[in-house]
């Protein structure tokens, strides 16, 4: 049911672990199945110089968070903010329909980490627009949307 890329990313995740001196940490949990994802960022001059993750969840969740940390390295914070879950899904060569919410979780964790960084700096957190995965219709990843 998973693509080769998902399996490879899941079995050989590269940037696992905690960053002790992280500048921003984002933790999100999916209300769908109670899984937890944490992303750590090291930021220099508005650029992500290091990103790590820790995930309690299924193979799709682990692969998505691993792929997300890979993709946001060397991006500016605003570029990383714009990373969509669809970008993660594409990079993984696709996810089964029932697993798309795991990639949304990865995107949300990245955004939570960026906002944590901004808040620590005394900046306003950025606002997320309507979810592009469900257009606000409810993909199971936004409890406020049901």
């Amino acid at each position: 049911m998973y693509t080769e890329k998902v399996i490879t990313e899941f079995t050989n995740p590269q940037y696992v672990g905690e960053l002790a001196d992280a500048d921003g940490v984002g933790e999100v949990g999916s209300p769908t199945c109670g899984d937890i994802m944490r992303i750590y960022l090291k930021v220099e001059e508005d650029r992500i110089v290091d990103a790590r993750f820790q995930t309690f969840g299924c193979a799709a969740a682990i692969a998505s968070s691993s792929m997300a940390t890979r993709m946001i390295r060397d991006l500016s914070l605003s570029e990383a903010w714009d990373l969509s879950n669809a970008d993660v899904v594409d990079a993984l060569g696709g996810l089964p329909a029932g697993k798309v919410h795991c990639s949304v979780l990865a995107r949300d964790a990245v955004r939570a980490a960026i906002n944590d960084y901004r808040t620590r700096r005394g900046l306003e957190p950025w606002e997320a627009g309507p979810c592009e995965c469900c257009g606000g219709a409810g993909c199971g990843s936004h409890p406020e949307n049901g």
């Binding site: 399996i7 079995t11 937890i36 995930t55 309690f56 682990i62």
Partner: protein, 389 residues
């Protein structure tokens, strides 16, 4: 290591079935002599099944497997006894073939009590007694659970049901071949069976219906199975099912001893090498081939995939693997928190397993859990993580 999901077919079973695909393909309902072989094949199987559970051949009704048998027993009894009452007593840990059938009946206006179980997954017969009202027509409690392997006090539950004049159904799909069944001694009125759990074919099963039990048919049409279950018989499937149950019940004790020894070594080895692990289910009253664990800090689907990468098949009660939003109802019913239900792993041994397989799991599993714990944010930094190279 996933024999509770299904089993391979024994060569003896395949051999018994083979002629019924080619030479003896007649329709058992046809009158000419050519069809007699098919008819005899079916009737031999009926005797084999009856002998395995202490029933009369006339009380064995072939159908398409465990799910159909459960549906038939519950809907059939509920509908046929509607004027006597509309209440059913069952347990919270039944297979979905029972639970979803009961939920459907609730939508049709029946009422159902889902009894809780203790931390080991056992139903208390006293709770059954308490739940029975003068509107109760059926008690349905499984003989052995498919996830955690807990064996229920079937005879006591049968006694309680009969003391109150209520019919008793048990889903024995997982129990046959592992628990000696005697429908007389255990006071069972209806019992579900499925061939593919004991080295027989898939899509072949039976419902035992005690002589004189009031029950409606589920499948209407021709007069097969003495008018109780229409449809031309799955003759090869039935023949294989009969041969398989005969083999599976020939030496239950010897078979259990051998499988339990392997299972116990597996459980001891896992507990010794992987900290923060619990064993789910009953310490003694459990199927000899069943081991069920919860590994803290990790999720079951990811365990399955890493095991699969090593060629090991297993199953889990995690929501992430079933695509539903809730982890296994059985694990929640025995009181596991969501997180530990998510980290569950079921290993079920069978006749294909050897001591080498146990060694192999003991070699691979600690590494798999260790690897996932390294990825998990829940693993406390002080937790002892098994060595990973």
């Amino acid at each position: 290591m996933d024999h509770a999901a299904t089993t391979f077919m024994k060569p003896e079973v395949i051999a018994a079935m083979a002629p019924y695909f080619s030479e003896h393909f007649g329709n058992p309902s046809s009158l000419y002599r050519f069809a007699a072989e098919s008819r005899q094949g079916v009737e031999t199987a009926r005797r084999q099944v009856a002998a395995a559970i202490g029933a009369n051949p006339g009380e064995i009704n072939f159908c398409a497997g465990g799910s159909e048998a459960d549906n038939w027993a519950i809907k059939g009894v509920a509908l046929a006894n509607r004027e006597r009452g509309n209440h059913i007593v069952t347990s919270a840990i039944e297979h979905h073939a029972v639970l979803h059938t009961c939920e459907w009946l609730e939508r049709q206006g029946f009422s159902v009590t889902y009894l809780p179980v203790d931390e080991f997954g056992r139903v208390d017969p006293a709770d059954v007694e308490e739940a029975i009202t003068d509107r109760t027509t059926l008690v349905s409690v499984m003989a052995a659970n498919n996830e955690i392997g807990t064996i229920q006090p079937v005879a006591e539950i049968g006694r309680v049901a009969h003391d109150h004049g209520v019919l008793f159904h048990t889903d024995a799909v997982q129990a046959v071949g592992a628990v000696p069944i005697d429908v007389e001694r255990m006071e069972i009125d209806l019992l579900s069976l499925s061939g593919h759990k004991f080295y027989g074919p898939k899509g072949a099963g039976a419902l035992y219906i005690r002589e004189g039990t009031r029950i409606e048919s589920l499948i209407h049409g021709g007069g097969q199975e003495r008018g109780r279950r229409a449809g031309t018989e799955n003759v090869p499937g039935i023949v294989g099912f009969g041969r398989a149950i005969e083999l599976a019940t020939a030496d239950i004790e010897g078979h259990n001893r051998c499988i339990a020894a392997m299972r116990d070594r597996l459980v001891r080895g896992i507990l010794a090498s992987i900290p923060d692990t619990r064993v789910n289910g009953h310490p003694k009253e459990r199927l000899a081939n069943n081991a069920n664990f919860s590994f803290r800090y990790v999720e079951g689907e990811s365990i399955l995939l890493l095991l699969d990468a090593h060629g090991i098949c297993a199953s889990t009660g995690s929501a992430c693997s079933s695509g539903s939003s809730e982890p296994s109802h059985v694990l929640l019913a025995i009181g596991l928190p969501h997180e530990e239900a998510h980290g569950s792993l079921r290993l079920t041994l069978g006749d294909a397993n050897t001591e080498d397989d146990v060694d192999y799991v003991l070699e691979v599993l600690p590494e798999v859990i260790g690897r996932l714990r390294k990825i998990s944010p829940l693993t406390p930094s002080c937790a002892r993580i098994p060595e990973v190279d």
